[in-house]
Symmetry: C2
Subunit: 186 residues, 2 copies
């Protein structure tokens, strides 16, 4: 069965961007440090084999929505308010979905038997809260960023159990940690 899989580069202290993020400074001050490594090997292969993308505007806008082609021309679902401008409405392959469950469900439909690539801290937090994030693939970067935007924040007091399924110690001190999110016990 296909899975929704969060792919994120994260500092050891949990940040996915530096402080002072803007559309023109999408990674925040110094956030480029989290992306100075060679993405290769099986994790990249899996990343490129995904059949749809779910991301938030905060991730998509600084990247100009990847010109409508994140990879392989797959459908892109933006979690957030409906398109408000003609420019937004006219983006090829991009659909705006205000509900996280619907965004993930439509992306799964679009991906077919393939997995869904999930991007962004806001999307991750909403999807975890709604129980619609299946797996985490974190690229842990060997740096303490100190300040910025945290990947895991405002999740509330209920524990979310994880099953570790893979650890890869890659080049440049990057450690790929892959987990399956366990269903919450009511």
């Amino acid at each position: 069965m296909s899975a929704t899989v969060l792919y994120m580069s994260m500092s050891l202290d949990g940040f996915i961007a530096g402080p002072n993020e803007t559309v023109d400074n999408g990674l925040g001050d110094g956030g480029i440090r989290l992306h100075e490594w060679d993405f290769s090997g099986p994790v990249l292969d899996e990343f490129l084999a995904t059949g749809a993308v779910v991301a938030g505007r905060g991730t998509a806008e600084p990247a100009d929505y990847w010109g409508g082609d994140h990879h392989g021309g797959v459908s892109i679902f933006i979690f957030g308010p409906e398109a408000a401008t003609d420019a937004e409405r006219s983006r090829p392959r991009v659909t705006y979905v205000p509900d996280i469950r619907e965004a993930m469900s439509r992306a799964k439909d679009a991906a077919g038997h393939r997995n869904v690539l999930v991007h962004g801290a806001g999307v991750a937090q909403a999807a975890l809260a709604a129980g619609v994030l299946d797996e985490l693939e974190l690229h842990v970067i060997p740096v303490l960023l100190g300040e910025g935007r945290r990947l895991f924040d405002r999740l509330g007091p209920d524990h979310i159990e994880l099953e570790r399924v893979r650890v890869i110690a890659a080049d440049h001190g990057v450690t790929h940690l892959h987990y399956r999110v366990q269903p919450r016990t009511p």
Copy 2:
């Protein structure tokens, strides 16, 4: 040369204790989840081979200062205000040191050729800020705790580079990540 090494169990989302910590609830609500695993293997061997301990009161008090014997009867240095009560002054093998550099330096002297075991989020943050923490050994627990006390917090905007020196995928989904803290470039 001997090193000061932080040993901490941390949830994947960066917490080392649950919310509502008190002396009687030292791990915070639900924080026991971070300690439900078997500490064994080379990491435990190294832990037990350390020759001194540096910890904060927040770590030491709930554990009743380990009865003065954390392991092997090594000296225990408490980073924080000087002993204020007779009970504090009379604890065997326990010394209170208000300055983090002095605490680490005295612990290194006491440890001789052995490493120094460092415990606690407050101590870690102070030691990182002062540049006197040499290594990190984190036991990453497969759970998102959601709330509680973070290990890495209030570090400020300067990046601290790390060198990953070891990754161990242990039982119960626990991943041991070992890093050397790199000197800051001014």
